[in-house]
Symmetry: C2
């Protein structure tokens, strides 16, 4: 073993001479960073004063920005002032307690601290060597999440940017296993068409995974759902049999825990039986409701989840972690590694027995995302996180109760978690009812304090209130209902002019 | 048009009553955020006091972390203290001025401000409606970058997490165009095997793109290079012809502007001629050297780049933007959109004529990455950015000069930008020389103040010094050379024991 260069401490001392810092200017930076910190704290104190949807038209922001980049550097004051003037008022306020669209998310305070510290470190832990602590923190924190979801120790977690990527990797692993490694080397050109199964209510990211992976969107089989929008196992079995009969190769089933439209839960145990019998990879899309699995009573709705080959859960969705942070839990991470690992000379390192996270997907670069998740779990504690999720679900039940009790309104789907699908039922044809609800949604969102989205169920337009922001309290939900009712009264009454 | 609910201002006022903020606690948060800001400022002031590579063994960090998540919430003090004790000392310090491995990157001060503000907003601008300002800022800032690189206005930019994804999208667009849209719907199962061409020095992300997209790694053709590690156009032509002859379908060529090992530049104009003649998609992998294209003299090395169908350049690599930020510039973004767009009911919006960024790839979720790039470009100004890049290139030339002047050392490849491949040439067989250089690298990196990586050129082990951090000055480069020389003396001398 070579001795280290004897002069290195002297060298190091010479190099860190104050005042020689390249182009950076730490003193001003400290002041600037404190200013930016105040902007963030101010924003979160006053976010509810904004309308959730900014009053901005397409092109407005672009016109406020210079068409050409500046030749000379500008002072930080100008940057922060423009942020305050051009950007902040013109974003959709996902951190607003009245944000009830899509799935509500939370840029929680501990999560923001984690993002700031990660930005300062600017680590790229593609390899253990290029980021030992980030690698091992990612392993540890995703294992915490596994324990919180009451999953067996076999599951190993990796963080991706989005559920779209996590799911894509799961299907890629399924493809690799089904082709016995052939697809990696030779592609799909000579292979039988491979098919993937999911409920008709599956998220569009599964379609996109099939497109990206070269399977083809037409080979995602959409299994019909029952009256409560859950995949029908009998139909799944028939479709697999029909595909085998016609020369396709079924490779994977995606069961959804909390579909996007109604948050329905596919009958995972029955689906797991079929996947086992048929030798298919079972992927659990728990991007949304996986967070609720940290509460035993909601975990019970997903009995069988532990039989999946892979599960995606998004802490950036309902676990109060800033975007982006999606966790893919794999029962046999070795399959994913086999599908993707590829170590060029310049990335070879001497360490053995370590995890090099670049081995588990197409991306080499990797942001330090586990830090914020670590902060979130520690800051709230598991019980604290459960309390928020239970609170959200209770608010959704209360909202559903108000809707049910109101003449001229109906709840359109079961409410297993924190999302309510509902609509007004004025007299008229189904088309007239749809048009009315569409107008109602537009008027409610135009009011300012709330933002709801919509979906279609059995072909009918329905409104969708999704509670997911840690800043949302029952008062906000009650306010949303007030606005919806008053707006509906308004639309029903005589319209002047 | 419906009138807004008359009660909404009253509702809004009622909702924002101070003291009702759900689980968040803005006062403490402001204090905590200022503490975290000081930690970041402290870190950047003192980062050079750390050894670049932490003195940590596999498993050390994991053992410092509790195996189970905490049931109760913990105070922020504990989080920040553990960050300082467990994480900060045990990361590889990519922000260290002595970081010369891989490609140097910079978590610049304006970039960190941008990341902090983005974390506070926590916007997901999958749709224009879900983030108007982030969408239009992304369009504007990537257009600034296009202008800086002197590319035609036809190019439209999108930000991805990594060059791996940007390149994957480019090849996906090529696949879509070559299959006339068939691959999206039916996959690749019935198709001819599609082939992609790149130099033998191409980055591993291209292999991974071919694996992911179902083309197969064997269908990435590695074109031989010339004496300066550049793709040989004559060989490219022959390989395309041979593939056509044997029933393959050539779809794309990747030309690299700044290969990973030596930063060589493929002869892009000659390659563009071939791609045009053959009807192949031309992708320019300028992830590293694309940043240098903002200087006219370096742009001149890439004449023909403007003929690409797609170009990737990573501001998180050599444009001083924190990870992650990779820009994909597309001449015909409509092709990528056609390959991926898919709008489920719950994501339909009324706005027309707007860009919905989710349409351009598999990922739905999207972090607000353009903010930091906007801050970086404005803070330095184009001239300031050019000055840093020119400074890095000048330092590399000086380093190469010292190596050339030193008996027993040699420079192993041309130095077009800021990266130098070199090695010691002690007496002995090639294998003995390799072993010596491997020992030299390990000893240099063990010293502490610098971190260099390696590669293989023509089968021989070479050291690689890549300058890319804005905090690196000539003194750091000189220091690296001192350590390398002294360590080499040490290794040559008699070894005790």
């Amino acid at each position: 073993m070579a001795r280290p260069c004897p002069c290195w401490t002297a060298c190091a001392r010479r190099w860190t001479r104050p005042g020689d810092r390249g182009v950076s200017a730490p003193k001003d930076f400290r002041r600037d960073l404190h200013r930016a910190a105040d902007l963030v704290a101010d924003y979160l104190e006053h976010v509810a004063d904004y309308p959730v949807l900014p009053k901005v038209r397409p092109g407005d922001v672009r016109r406020m920005l210079p068409a050409e980049p500046p030749a000379k550097g500008e002072p930080t004051e100008a940057l922060l002032a423009d942020y305050r003037r051009i950007i902040e008022p013109n974003v959709t306020h996902w951190n607003h307690p009245g944000f009830f669209a899509y799935f509500g998310i939370t840029g929680s305070e501990p999560g923001i601290l984690g993002e700031l510290l990660a930005a300062g470190l600017n680590v790229n832990h593609m390899l253990w060597k290029s980021g030992p602590a980030p690698t091992e923190l990612e392993e540890t924190v995703t294992d915490w999440l596994r324990q919180m979801m009451d999953l067996p120790p076999a599951f190993v977690g990796h963080i991706n940017d989005t559920a779209s990527m996590s799911t894509l990797l799961a299907i890629a692993a399924a493809r690799h296993r089904a082709s016995q490694g052939r697809s990696r080397v030779y592609g799909l050109s000579g292979a039988k068409p491979m098919t993937v199964y999911a409920s008709d209510h599956v998220h569009s990211s599964i379609d996109k995974a099939c497109i990206t992976l070269g399977l083809g969107q037409a080979h995602l089989r959409r299994v019909p759902v029952d009256g409560e929008f859950r995949m029908r196992p009998d139909a799944l079995e028939q479709m697999i049999a029909a595909d085998r009969h016609s020369g396709h190769q079924p490779i994977a089933v995606v069961a959804t825990m909390g579909t996007t439209s109604t948050t329905s839960v596919d009958p995972i145990a029955a689906v797991a039986d079929i996947a086992e019998r048929e030798g298919l990879w079972l992927h659990g899309d728990a991007a949304y409701a996986g967070s609720a699995a940290i509460c035993p009573e909601y975990r019970a709705l997903m009995t069988g989840l532990e039989r999946c080959d892979s599960i995606v859960v998004n802490p950036h969705k309902w676990l109060f972690t800033p975007v982006d942070c999606s966790v893919l839990l794999l029962r046999e991470p070795a399959v994913l590694k086999e599908a993707f690992t590829l170590v060029p000379e310049y990335l070879k390192t001497a360490e053995t027995g370590v995890t090099n996270l670049m081995d588990y997907g197409p991306q080499l670069g990797r942001r330090f995302r586990s830090l914020k998740l670590w902060f979130v779990i520690r800051s709230y504690g598991v019980e604290g996180l459960r309390a928020i999720i239970r609170g959200h679900c209770a608010m959704a039940q209360r909202f559903a109760g108000w809707v049910r009790a109101e003449p001229g309104f109906e709840v359109c789907a079961p409410v297993p978690f924190s999302t309510v699908c509902f609509r007004a039922t004025p007299a008229g044809t189904p088309e007239e009812q749809d048009a009315y609800n569409e107008r109602l949604l537009a008027a409610v969102n135009a009011a300012g304090p709330v933002f709801l989205a919509h979906t279609k169920l059995n072909g009918r337009f329905v409104l969708r209130l999704a509670i997911g922001n840690a800043r949302t309290t029952e008062r906000h939900v009650r306010g949303a209902w007030d606005i919806i009712r008053h707006t509906a009264d308004d639309l029903r009454g005589p319209t002047p002019g």
